[in-house]
């Protein structure tokens, strides 16, 4: 029928329906005279219409009920599937049933997996056809071959694969009581199989021990390649109540799978990581027991797993260092962000081989991954490098991956660059076998030197070359080799300018990096200039909440801190904190910034604020890294310092001992971080009057710093200052004098004769020695010098300035110059009153001096003003 005719039919139908029933036929006959079939059709319409409501009115519910009433899986056993005859049931899993079957014509046995509840829409079934051809191409001894795949009449997919007689991986290991070596061997075989599949562009997506069978001869077979893809529900990503299509237990799922994002090669890397974890510890990293699916998923997305070495519990025969490397291996594979894992299974296998041969790994623990050039900032001014741990070589492929993962150019160019650099670094460190270097810093340096040479050859790829220069430069900087770092970072900057012009985004970042180097080199003007410029550019070129902006702000804060411009630094850093305090889990960058902000508050004398900021940073670091991590140690030291300032000495000692233990365990006994902790501990012990122990710790720290930095560096000067202070306290005045003089000399050289508040510190300390020797004029002169510098560098209202006033006043008192003594002491007193706890010993000393002054000046009323306040809190520190 034609639609026109249908139109006509309808028109007639409606017209006729409006007629009284009796007259309808007549009406129609008159209208359709020449078309009897039309008449007939319209009449039948009317007839149906008259019959009343039809099932169409009631909706499809009942029919649907009926049609869909059958159970989803056939309850009666299948006899045949495709060309295979079912011989028996092998097992049942969450997703389906596995039958043993054989092909009549070939006589060979296969396992057929029938996926119940796999609701495939027709469109998907079409895709499935294409897929299974690819899957059938996987031909590897460790992969169960897929022979055939199709759907049953109702659309249920089935897969016919190689029938493997073997035990699931974990059961096998348990039954044979496999040792770690054997487990690793199995693991390696598994990795190779996965790598093979990846080369054929097939991702497994559902790697778990139950998918891996081990035959009696110890060979592995991986099952179900690519099958999970068929089941993937492509739509809902937030749905926690998925059944059927979704993996039944997400315990092995990668974070991106839980989020519903597409799977990638790194998804399989994650799966391998979990398998390794379970092989090593006997447990899954995130235990479903006692948790709902939703909770489990959240854990996988947000929580860091316990390190395998921690989770393993019972005695394992490996050394601690071995465990450390296995931890790294496992956890690198299991990182939450796919881009931070091993880039490929090949990379994982490589590191596994390194481990098996007793060589250092390429991957490194989290610290370097996050911190790059902003590594652990000490609570005072010196920058301690995060250089190589005793036996392991610094930085590598993963390092690069992280650095370059910061989005800059287009994804393609970025990926290409990353690959080239990865290969570069691999070549670099693979060739390192031939190096027979003794100390590890030397080994690193020689490798780096080679690296630089090779980087130079990349003239035709300026972007890549720039990246390399910058990274290598950063490493040199960490090792304290500022000249090399300088050349490289400047080189990187120039390259970047040539690639994107002077106003480019990468250029800005390079400037900031270079600025930080300048800060380390104590070229503070240039440092500030570079960082400010870089910051301006970054602000212009990036959205305000971009990480590069807060990074640049942090750098500026650090430079200002190094200059002693604490108040300004605080303003800058507070901006950075605001930017980094986005909702969601805290980041290491936020901890860094909080720490820097705390340092500046400390240096500005705001101890309480500094304390709470350090506590925040500590909480974040604990959350991110666990309790035994060097970042936590830094926070502990900082808190210890503050506790010391506030007078809680034993608390300070406790904290610093904790930090020292962490650093020693992590870095070894001869490392800068350990030096840092030793200094802090020494200080704390000294304050408790345990001088010998304190001095011993300080000497150890000094030795380490001198070895790394040479004899002229702020870090060294600082420890020298401490030693001077201890000697002073013990009345070893000659020793104290020598130390303070050395300290001043170092700072003067370091700051190129310019004024810096550290010089004032040293000068004031030295003056104190002369005071004790009662060499008043000399002391007075030095205190005046110190005061000048303090005023110039820290401002007239600074705590240190106040203390200097008071000390100068005291010198004058001793010499009987009471009126000037009064003015100095009162000035100092007024400054301190605004800042410190009134029971502070400096204030007490000042009051004592003022009483003496007014007594001498015969002004008893004023003397009375400076009486000791009657209420003295019990917490007053004794004997400062």
């Amino acid at each position: 029928m034609e639609s026109e005719r249908w139109e006509r039919m309808q028109a007639l139908f409606h017209e006729a329906a409006e007629q009284p029933a009796t007259g309808r036929r007549a009406f129609l006959e008159s209208v359709c005279g020449d078309d009897p079939s039309l008449l007939k059709d319209v009449l039948s319409l009317l007839e149906e219409d008259a019959a009343g409501a039809s099932f169409l009115d009631s909706g499809v519910g009942e029919m649907a009920q009926d049609l869909l009433a059958e159970p989803s899986a056939p309850l009666l056993p299948l006899k045949e599937i495709g060309p295979y005859r079912i011989q028996g049931l092998l097992g049942e899993g969450g997703m389906g049933v596995v039958y043993l079957a054989c092909r009549e014509d070939l006589g060979s046995q296969v396992a057929i997996k029938v996926l119940r509840d796999a609701w495939m829409s027709p469109a998907r079934r079409e895709r499935f056809t294409v897929e299974r051809r690819t899957l059938a191409q996987l031909n590897h001894p460790s992969i169960a071959r897929l022979y055939d795949a199709d759907t049953l009449a109702d659309g249920t997919p089935w897969f016919a694969m190689e029938y493997v007689e073997g035990a699931p991986l974990n059961a096998y290991c348990r039954a044979r009581a496999c040792d770690v070596a054997e487990r690793l061997r199995l693991f390696r075989a598994i990795c190779e199989a996965v790598e093979y599949a990846h080369r054929h562009a097939i991702i497994h997506r559902d790697l778990k021990p139950s998918n891996i069978l081990v035959k009696a001869d110890g060979s592995v077979r991986l099952l179900d390649f690519g099958i999970a893809k068929q089941l993937d529900s492509e739509g809902t990503s937030q749905d926690h109540t998925r059944t059927g299509l979704r993996l039944m237990t997400p315990a092995y799922a990668a974070p991106e799978q839980i989020r519903g994002d597409p799977a990638s090669v790194q998804t399989d890397v994650y799966g391998l990581g979990v398998i390794l974890y379970e092989l090593l510890t006997g447990r899954v990293p995130f235990d479903p027991a006692g948790h709902s699916t939703g909770e489990l998923e959240r854990m996988i997305l947000e929580r860091e797993p316990a390190k395998p070495s921690a989770a393993v519990g019972t005695a394992q025969t490996l050394s601690r260092a071995s465990w450390a490397d296995l931890d790294v291996l496992c956890l690198t594979a299991m990182r939450k962000e796919a881009a931070r894992r091993y880039r490929s299974v090949e990379a994982l296998i490589r590191d596994l081989d390194h481990y098996l041969k007793g060589e250092p790994l390429e991957a490194r623990p989290d610290t370097l991954g996050y911190r790059t050039s902003k590594f652990v900032r000490r609570n005072r001014r010196a920058v301690f490098a995060a250089a190589a741990v005793s036996l392991t070589v610094v930085v590598l492929v993963t390092f690069f991956t992280v650095r370059l993962a910061v989005a800059r150019n287009t994804a393609m160019a970025q990926a290409a660059r990353a690959q080239r650099i990865q290969r570069f670094m691999l070549n670099l460190f693979n060739g390192g076998d031939k190096e027979a270097g003794p100390a590890d810093n030397l080994r690193v340096v020689s490798l780096l030197d080679r690296g630089v040479q090779e980087a130079r050859s990349l003239d035709r790829e300026p972007a890549v070359q720039a990246d390399l220069y910058e990274t290598l430069g950063g490493i040199y900087q960490k090792l304290g080799k500022f000249d090399q770092a300088d050349t490289l970072l400047r080189g990187a900057l120039e390259e970047r300018k040539s690639v994107e012009g002077p106003g480019g985004v990468d250029v800005a970042e390079s400037q900031v990096e270079l600025g930080l180097l300048r800060s380390d080199q104590v070229k503070l003007d240039e440092a500030e200039r570079l960082v400010r410029d870089g910051l301006e550019k970054t602000k212009r070129l990036r959205p305000p909440d971009n990480a590069a902006v807060s990074k640049a702000l942090l750098a500026l804060g650090q430079v200002l801190q190094a200059r002693g411009a604490f108040t300004e630094a605080i303003g800058i850093l507070e901006q950075a904190v605001k930017l980094e305090s986005t909702p969601g889990p805290p980041t290491p960058e936020l901890a860094d910034t909080l720490r820097e902000l705390a340092i500046n508050n400390y240096d500005a004398g705001h101890f309480d604020i500094a304390k709470s900021l350090h506590e925040r940073a500590l909480a974040i670091d604990r959350q991110l890294f666990g309790d035994s991590h060097p970042s936590v140690a830094v926070d502990l030291i900082s808190l210890g310092d503050i506790q010391q300032e506030l007078g809680y000495y034993s608390e300070a000692e406790r904290l610093t001992r904790q930090a020292l233990a962490i650093n020693r365990a992590y870095y070894g006994t001869d490392h800068l971080q350990t030096a840092n902790s030793l200094t802090a501990l020494g200080r704390a012990l000294v304050f408790e009057k345990r001088y010998d122990e304190g001095v011993d710790a300080l000497h150890q720290a000094l030795g380490i710093c001198e070895r790394v930095y040479g004899k002229v560096h702020p870090a060294v000067a600082e420890i020298v200052n401490e030693l001077g202070g201890v000697a002073y306290m013990r009345d070893q005045l000659d020793e104290a004098e020598a130390q303070f003089q050395r300290m001043i000399a170092i700072y003067q050289e370091v700051y190129h004769g310019r004024n810096h508040y550290q010089i004032a510190v040293g000068t004031a300390n030295l003056a104190g020695v002369y005071m004790d020797r009662k060499q008043w004029p000399r002391a007075e002169q030095l205190f005046r010098e110190a005061l000048q510098i303090y005023i110039e560098t820290q401002g007239a209202g600074h705590v240190n300035t106040g203390i200097a006033h008071i000390k100068l006043g005291r010198t004058l008192v001793r010499q009987g110059h009471y009126s000037e003594a009064e003015s100095q002491t009162v000035t100092g007193y007024r400054i301190l009153i605004k800042q410190s706890n009134p029971t502070d010993s400096f204030l007490r000393g000042a009051r004592k001096d003022l009483r003496a002054i007014y007594d001498a000046l015969n002004q008893p009323e004023k003397a009375k003003q400076y009486q000791e306040p009657v209420t003295v809190t019990a917490a007053a520190p004794v004997g400062r």
Partner: protein
Amino acid sequence: MPHQGSPSSGEWAFGQPGGTPEERRELDYLFSLTYEELRRLAATVRRGDPSVTLNTTALVNEAWLKLAHSPRFTSTSPLHFKRIAARAMRQLLVEAARRRNAGKRGDGIVPIGLADAAGVAASTEEKLLALDAALVELAQLSPRQAMMVEARFFGGLDMAETASLLNVSEATMLRDWRAAKAWLAHRLRELQ
């Protein structure tokens, strides 16, 4: 009866003849999702309480609630979704009916609850398949009316929603509905 594949063959074309290949692909994809969701829901409902009548409207609503959060559905209006869902439901049921029929002829899975083949009344699956065939024919005559029936019957859309979907007045719709019903009833009688 030709296997009714995905609707990209132009059956979506009502109101938008053709559409770009990308649009059709997108529609296909949405359809796939909806289909699977509905089926899954239906199974869930069934497993819950087999005696409960399957309320397709509720099913469709529930499917919408779930899928609405999916990024692929952000530009889909609830009404448009229901349209897709109606088609998906139809497909679902047609396939179920076909399976049943095939089962009866002994082509593989033997389901439980086999309807008495010798019964006088037409079985549900035969009825549905006949309806499907008739709808295909109706679509040739009047795509709008076929869509209307599909939306109302399979999708559970009410009068107002259907009228809105088709962009006609309710009065027109009522007329169309009446005529379509009559025609379908007649045609079904012939087919069965």
